[in-house]
Structures are given as C-alpha cells and as structure tokens.
Symmetry: C2
C-alpha cells in the first residue's frame, strides 16, 4: 500500500424529505446569500426548486437563481454564474441537480474568488479557494456530491477537461433517493455505469497488497450488479434507488481508492466521445470501459480473474485463467446491455471514421498516458476500434 491522505469533510444528509432541510444546512455552514444553480425544467416542474426556496426562506436566507445547466456542462453558463455571484455578493452556492449541475457550481465557486479566467483551473492551475457549496442531489451517477472533482466543456472547440481540489468538496450533500425516481431508465442506467466506472478505474491498479480497498471496490460493484436491474425494472423501487445512491457516493469520495495507483484512461477516452457527439457520459463509458478491459487484460490476467469471480460470480478456470478473465469482461458487457446501455459505436451514435479525430483531440501526440497500462495514441485508436465493433 502506498502512503496517502484522505479527507472527506462533507456532511451527508440521506433519505426521504431531506431536501426540505437545505436552508438549515446552508445556515449551519455559514451561507448568507445563496445562488441556486440547477439544470433543465424537471427540477422546477417537480416542485423541487420551490421546496428548496421555501427552506431557504424559512431560514431568512436571500437567494438568486441560475438554471439551464446542460449535460456536459458548458463554460458559457459558468462565466454567467461567476458574473452573477460577483454582482450579487453571493457567498454560498447551492447545486440542485446531478453531476453536471454540481460540476458547474464548482467551477462558478472557484471562478468567483479568482480574478483571471476560470478556465485556467481546467488547464492545470490548482484551485486554492472557492465559495462554499451545498448539494441537493437528483441523480446517482457522478459522485460529484462527495468528491472534489469537476468536469467542464469549453464551448470553443468542445474541449472537455477536469480539475480537482479539496476546496471544491461540498460542505453538505442532501441525498434523497425519491428525487431520482422520476429519472428515465436510460439515464438511470447511464448513472449506474458511471458509478461502476469510478470503481473500476480505481480497481485496476499496479499496486499490490491492497486487499481492503479491493474488497471495498468489489462491495460497491456487487451492489450495483444486484440493484441496477431492480430500478430498471421498477423505477419506484426506493430501496434499490437508496442503495445505488449511497454506492455512488462511496464509489467516488476517495475511500475505495486510497493507497493505490489508479487508471483514469477510460474516463479520458470517453470524454472525447461525449464532447464530440454530446452523448451521455455513462453511455460512452458503457462502450469504452469493457473495450479498454479487452485491450489491457493480458497485463494482469489474475486481477481480471479476481473481478470475474468475486464480482460476477464466474467459475475460475485454473487450466486457462485467460478464459475466466475474458468471461468477466463479457459478463460486464452483458450486464450493461441488459440495463439498456449501448455497447458499440453504432448503438451510441458514434462513427468509426471519426477515430482519428477523437485520438487527435485527446492530445497525446507522440506521448503516453500512464495508468494500469501505459497507452499511446495508437493504443487509444485500438481501444476505439474495439469499441466501434463490440458485440455480446
């Protein structure tokens, strides 16, 4: 195990009706003037935004609001939010939505305390400070409610880039599984895929002797394998929704990945897909993640056997472990298909002839990207090709 630090100081309030406590928590964490940030019309139509406003009013907290966050959140709205915060003297950001809304709020929070262009932070500059953030989560997926990460797409050139800082961790996150019940099956499945990807990118490591984090990773994965088909079959299954929602936080607040090298190449490779085609991040991951696995599994066959047997219940083939390793990957792809996810370019709406463009935008050039297996541009092209032509 490698040396590490772990710090997850977010206060989580989980369960039915907790969104009505938003005002109480904003006050507890020192907010006096709030920007309510949200996405499309569903949070308004469902009455959620009104309930949040009521809870702020009950605490005597003034607010302004900024809706309109899109999936793959854009820089344009971030600039607008920063301007609004500065003009209105906002000192607390309340993100009501899923990962896109939270990530957008994080960018606004950092940009509001910075004189330069916020995009600097998504180009390598470290974020030292940001306005405090609170979350009312409506989608179990990104884990942004418990992480210090944020991903934004710059509209010029559709560049999708991420950043991370302790300063971006939410002060509190309100997680009511009921709020996810109205989510269509497709988006629910996208979220589940994203959650599993967050674990897999920590699971495939070159660090040895990390039994505790291996087992914690597998705990989240097994939960997703059990609970996801249940919510696809019945979107109003509160208990399954609750298990998935908490699993999504555990998957990405850091606790299952400490002390081990990680590999975030699948996320990076996917980002080019969702940036170019504006597809859902989770759908892109469903296409990329098993394809990445197929490309790299020979690097450590036994690790893939461990996944196959522990997570998907495959029988170990002791004569030919590669059979088990490949069966595990096949199980994962079948699972993704069964919950309604695309598994190749055609189902996603991507085109094999765009692969050179995708590789080019990833920007590796003649370099490599590190991880479980180091990848060159040609390797990435191979992964895209596997993804283009994948079948069950």
């Amino acid at each position: 195990m490698e040396n590490f630090t772990f710090y997850s100081p977010t206060y989580f309030a989980f369960g039915k009706g907790t969104e009505n406590e938003a005002g109480k928590y904003v006050k507890k964490f020192g907010g006096t003037k709030v920007l309510i940030h949200y996405g499309g019309g569903s949070a308004v139509r469902s009455g959620l935004i009104d309930r949040v406003k009521t809870s702020l009013e009950q605490e005597g907290l003034p607010y302004v609001e900024l809706g309109g966050v899109m999936p793959n959140p854009r820089s344009g709205l971030v600039y607008k939010g920063i301007e609004l915060c500065k003009a209105e003297g906002v000192d607390f950001l309340l993100a009501v939505g899923g990962g896109s809304v939270i990530d957008s709020a994080k960018a606004i929070a950092a940009g509001s305390l910075y004189d330069g262009d916020f995009w600097d932070f998504y180009s390598g500059k470290h974020i030292e400070k940001a306005l405090p953030i609170g979350v009312v989560l409506t989608i179990a997926a990104a884990g942004s409610e418990g992480s210090g990460d944020s991903v934004i797409t710059k509209e010029e050139g559709m560049l999708k880039r991420g950043t991370g800082s302790e300063a971006l961790r939410a002060k509190f996150s309100i997680m009511n599984p009921e709020l996810t019940e109205s989510l269509p099956a497709y988006q629910t499945a996208c979220g589940a895929t994203d959650i599993m990807a967050h674990v897999f990118e920590r699971y495939f490591t070159n660090t040895t002797e990390v039994e505790i984090t291996d087992r914690l990773c597998e705990a989240v994965l097994m939960t997703m394998v059990k609970e996801t088909p249940r919510v696809i079959a019945d979107p109003h299954n509160y208990e399954a929704r609750a298990n998935i929602m908490w699993a999504g936080m555990v998957a990405h607040n850091g606790i299952v990945g400490v002390g081990r090298s990680q590999d975030w190449n699948s996320h990076a490779i996917e980002h080019e897909l969702s940036a170019l085609y504006d597809c859902a991040h989770g759908a892109g991951l469903a296409v990329i993640m098993p394809s990445w696995m197929e490309f790299v599994y020979k690097h450590n066959v036994m690790r893939f056997c461990q996944m196959a047997t522990r997570v998907f219940g495959c029988k170990m083939n002791f004569e030919d472990p590669e059979v088990t390793a490949k069966e595990g990957i096949r199980c994962f792809r079948r699972f993704l298909h069964d919950i309604g996810m695309p598994i190749n370019f055609e189902e996603l709406g991507a085109k094999e002839e765009d692969i050179p463009v995708l590789v080019d935008k990833l920007g590796l050039g003649d370099g490599k990207t590190g991880g479980f297996v180091e990848l060159t541009s040609e390797d990435v092209a191979s992964i895209y090709r596997i993804a283009a032509n994948a079948s069950l």
Copy 2:
C-alpha cells in the same frame, strides 16, 4: 434503508514516516499550545514521543505532556488532564497511542471546556463542544481515530461507560502501520477482534434492503480474515499491518453502518468483563461475540448464513440452513482461537460464579436492552454461561 446523516471530517494521513508531520497538522488545524497525551513507556522508549516533540518544535508549537494512560482508561488521569489543560491554556490535544489514549484525550478535551464533572458526559449528558484533538495512532483496534466515541472507566466501582459526539471526532489522524509492528501478537489479535466486532455489531441488523452496507461490512471482515493471520505469523509484515490499520478505521468511522439499526450489546456485555477482570477489551470480545451469536442466530438464520458463506466461505446447506448458520459461528470462533484469542471464561481468566455480579453491574434490572434481539438480564446471563463453557 433508514434515513441517516454521515459526517467524518477527520483528515487522515496514512503511511510510513507520517508521524513526523504531527506538528504541521496541529498548526493546520489551529493549535497553538499542545497537550501530548500518551500511555506507557513504549511510545517513549521507541523514540516516537521524541519524534512527535521534534515535529511540534519545528513548527514553534509549545507543549506540555501527560503520560500514563492505562488500558481501559481511568477517570483519575482524565481529571488530571483537565486540570493541566486549564492551568496551562492548552488549546489542542495530541493523543499518541491506541484507543485508550485517544478515548482519554477525548474525555479531557470535553472536560476542559466544561465547568461540571466530566463524568456527566459518560452518564448521558450530550457533549456540545470539546478542544480539538489530533491523533498519532499506534494500535489498530478501537477505531477511535475516526470515530466520535470514547469509553472511560470510573475508578469508584470500576464502571465502564461510553459517550459519543461529533465534537469528539479528531481533526486529523496520523496512521503509520510501522508504529504497530512492535505490538505483541496477543495485543495485535485483540485489536483485530475489536475491529471485527465493530463490524459485526453493525452487520446484525433488523433493517432490510441494505446491500451496500452489508457488502462494505463483509469487505472489512474478509480483509481481517485474510490479513490477521499474516501479522500474527510475521509482525513485521507492513502490508498486512497497513490493510488492517485502514480496515480498523473504516470499521468504525460510521460508513459501513449508516441507514441501518445496529446492535452494540456484545460490546456492552464485554465491558463488564474488562471492567471486572481488567482483561483486554478485544480478548473479552473474542469470548462474548460468538457466544452472543449462538444465543441470537435463530432470530434470523439467513443473515447468519449470509455471513457464513460470504465472509467465511462456507457452503450453503439449502436443506438445513441452520447448519450453515452454526458453521459460520464456528468458523469465527476457530479463527479467533487460531490468532491466539481466548474463547471461554477460563482462557480469559473470568469465573462462571461471577456471572450474577456481571449481570448486576450491566444494570438492566427488569428492563431490556434493544438491538438485533432484545435482551433481558436472564438472556445476558445465558450469553455469559455460553461464553463460560465455549469450546471449538
């Protein structure tokens, strides 16, 4: 899943050499005058206390010190510590040791900001505020480095009582597995037993549909089953020590127990043993926990089958599930025996004829204590009798 809140704002610094950063973290979290609190001579003899002092001096932080914390920490030293903090204007407590030292420091931290008798907090009064605490952990066991709990023994009558408050959570915890390598095998095994007990007391629940926390519990338990025999065989196995140390934190900071009813009766029943015989808490748990399981398993045979198959790899007996349930308990007791733990009263140094005294001190009277199964005084006596006569 039940509604819950979860808040674990401790900063964890894990790995080799991290104790040399103690001063840096005290400063980061606002300390200006420190009480170094520790136990017996080993922390002094090993040079650990000197290293911690040096790191404080490097940050220009003045300190006073108070050693002498005993296992099952006593009220007498707590009173002394409170007096010292008040007299010296201490504003930060640095606990260097295991659970006993940390729990003693927590009691001092709360008592130093209170005009009454600190024992009030161990008699039901809620702790609203406490001095900030930092930890340099030397034993993987109690989980006190990541929890808001504290257990103190009142010398008059040897009353062992616990308390819990968010105010008692450490600001930071430094966890260097190397510091645990000098621990004798017996104490190492006691610590491992305590860690497993912390998980079991969350695992045996009447709340249904808690797959994510079930799986997280099992992740910690399987890690302990794998790693504990390795450190008993080789105390200098850093990797096994590291896995156990992080497992010990995860077991008790709350994350594996959210949203479900819990059962802390084994801990309470054990406390009377360690209070009366001054035996190690972990050794007492090794005697009590499987005995409690034997007494209650019929309440939910399938949950015990789940433990038996998932944690101990037992084969499920579908014709007679009780066989599997009992086999799981037997596996646990055999595991405890194999790592050198006592499994009955004789091996622990307890006496069957004291059972009425033990039951009386627990103080249930004609009442019941809630949990997985509600227990009367007579039930507790039965559990003590099973424990008195247990064998492999």
